[in-house]
Symmetry: C2
Subunit: 411 residues, 2 copies
């Protein structure tokens, strides 16, 4: 079964927004085992939209659109889809009641053009919108299907998840089951090299490495009759990969490094404090992304100035003078100092040159020391990162958290 995604809207054509809807839908359709060979974006223009429907449905069985469901006159996706299938629109009372209720609740005056959102063909499947006023719709004709979804990602995603996915599942007889392994501290080509024979000899499941946000991901994907059968195909391959490169794999699926680390800290009941210079609070902010951290996170200090490093962390003035603020020694004293403050098991520190100014030949932009104190023992690691100020700070944060993960594993 083949599907295409058409995102509708001038804001995409002008580059005002990034088209995240296509990515979401593409991923979801892939996981349903539905092939997507084309994606396209068109404006709110009747002729061009009609033309797109024509071309897409010549090639594919299903077209999914997002956008153009608003109340104003330039929102025409639903109307054009109906025109293409030659279906008449009429007022759908239950939808109109819901829209009225929604507006009344918000205390906003309802206008005549809002009625537009409650018009649907008689024989269509109306899709509830839990996060907005515009319902979506499934239109079917001659074994071709157009699914019209709203543009705002929050509305579109919950509608897809709750109503479109079950609808599509009924149409397909196979599922794609996948698991993504997230690796940190290893490059894409090196990782690929270590498992190249697995990648090349696998057809079902397939193994695909790709570069994610400062990390490499491995997607293991199987086509199967059922979810269970797919899992059974995947598991031995995942195990095989982990046997080879397990030390780099910190998580599966959508689990973040901070979640992994925070869970380890809470499980081991190890208290933690952070002392940050160049990262400026990113390490603590990242850890605190994970709600459960509160039982072990004691304190974070952003000691950007030398004065704060001395006063807050007890870094020695002579250390700063002799080695400088960006040095192994300072990172060490920062990590130990912050742990001493609240008598925590763990103290983390960062100090570096995030740029764009301030680099020297000895200490260039990108040089970062990260310190980890754990129960009396301190290790400091030196990094030379590429990238802009923000990138260097993010890399420092992620590497520090991964280093902590590795050390916690060894405890």
């Amino acid at each position: 079964m083949k599907a295409e995604i058409i995102t509708v809207g001038t804001e995409i054509l002008l580059g005002d927004i990034v088209n995240t809807n296509s990515q979401y839908l593409a991923k979801e359709l892939a996981s349903l085992g539905i092939d997507v060979y084309y994606q396209s974006s068109v404006g709110d223009n009747e002729n061009r939209l009609l033309q797109s429907f024509k071309e897409s449905l010549k090639r594919s069985d299903i077209v999914i659109t997002t956008g153009g469901l608003g109340p104003t006159n330039d929102d025409i996706t639903k109307e054009v889809a109906c025109k293409y299938f030659d279906k008449e629109l009429e007022l759908h009372k239950p939808s109109w009641d819901k829209i009225e209720f929604f507006f009344n609740k918000l205390g906003i005056e309802i206008t005549e053009n809002n009625k537009k959102q409650a018009y649907f063909p008689k024989d269509s499947i109306i899709l509830q919108n839990k996060n907005g006023t515009a319902p979506g719709v499934v239109l079917e004709k001659n074994e071709k299907i157009i699914i019209v979804l709203p543009g705002p990602p929050k509305e579109m995603k919950s509608m897809f998840e709750n109503e479109v996915k079950p609808y599509l599942q009924k149409l397909t007889d196979s599922v794609l089951v996948s698991k993504t392994l997230r690796a940190f501290g290893i490059g894409e080509s090196t990782l690929e090299d270590k498992i190249i024979d697995l990648i090349q000899n696998q057809t079902n499941p397939t193994i695909a490495p790709y570069v994610g946000d400062m990390e490499v991901r491995l997607r293991v994907m199987a086509k199967a009759k059922t979810e269970k059968e797919g899992q059974e195909l995947i598991e031995p391959v995942v195990k095989n990969i982990k046997d080879r490169v397990g030390q780099y794999i910190y998580a599966e699926g959508d689990t973040s490094i901070e979640e992994v680390v925070s869970k380890m800290l809470v499980e081991k009941n190890m208290t933690i404090a952070t002392a940050e210079s160049c990262t400026g609070g990113l390490v603590s902010a990242t850890l605190i992304n994970y709600p459960g951290i509160s039982s072990v996170f004691m304190e974070g200090c952003v000691t950007y100035s030398n004065e704060a490093k001395i006063m807050r962390l007890g870094v020695k003035e002579e250390t700063l003078e002799k080695y400088g603020a960006v040095s192994e020694e300072t990172a060490r004293e920062m990590a130990e100092g912050i742990a001493r403050n609240f008598d925590t098991n763990i103290g983390l520190s960062t100090t570096g040159v995030a740029g764009p100014e301030g680099g020297t030949k000895e200490k260039p932009v990108g040089l970062v020391y990260v310190g980890i104190y754990i129960n009396g023992k301190t290790t400091v690691k030196k990094y030379a990162f590429n990238g802009d100020r923000q990138g260097i700070r993010l890399r420092a944060t992620k590497n520090l958290l991964n280093d902590l993960r590795v050390q916690l594993l060894e405890l």
Copy 2:
């Protein structure tokens, strides 16, 4: 002049990556006054790619592709584009020399398939790649143009900026000049309402509001013969908008709120320190995004626990007991306490319920107090944010920085 963007690659069709290339190119083409009515994505498949070229060049004068320029056999974009225009590829010695040089510098062994990247038609314009091995190419035939660019955004963007933009500028006789005003603390519809007459009566420049990342942006865009003429068309409209809603507009273009606030602090030479609970370091990390902040940023404290609030900030135990950690009183004592620590002009504080757990009827998830101490005077603002944990913390951070901006303006 009409152009289309075709992004090539299975990783887009599978939803593995977000298609940011299309957005970048769409924005750039719009600013050149080149209309983009379609964008599409296809896989690395010869027939489908040929079909896409055919359809796109029927509708448009120019097609720009990204992706599929790698050294492996499944990278075929350049080859298919040449096939479509019936052009033969031959080895381009200077390009091959560069690729060899690049590999030698990295100490990587060069393989035969790397040669593929140095093949071009004789009459083509070869585009240098400053950030990778694959050159791009401009192919022309019968007044139609295909521009083939690499997929990695870093390579593609610098190639576009340095070589494609000047090439396209020569082809067009008009430019689109635009200015984006960034507004905070006002909803899209309210903002639109206040300038609806301007929006409706303007044709050149046009005014378009759109929702950005927790803010509303207004794009004023003029079509003109020259950049200068465009600026002259825009300026009076921008002034008119600012006269009406200037208090909400914190910046123009790509300027961030932290840059605006940090610059004000540095200019006024006002020192600052932060005390964060629910935001966990996001406020300090955001301020420190701006490199110049170091001269005024003294200290940041992440006092997530009550103990830290007492020890670090001198928040009274009885305040925490009587009003709770999430309260106006605690926010006030936090802001005053952190300013007292290093005797700074300004102290900022945040305390709230970021969720997903921990909400009560009196203090629901999303309740955040932000405190601002400035030279002896403290104000605390109460917010009720929607969203998930991360969203609530980002909103708190941005609102606090905007509140500080407004207060600094009044000094």
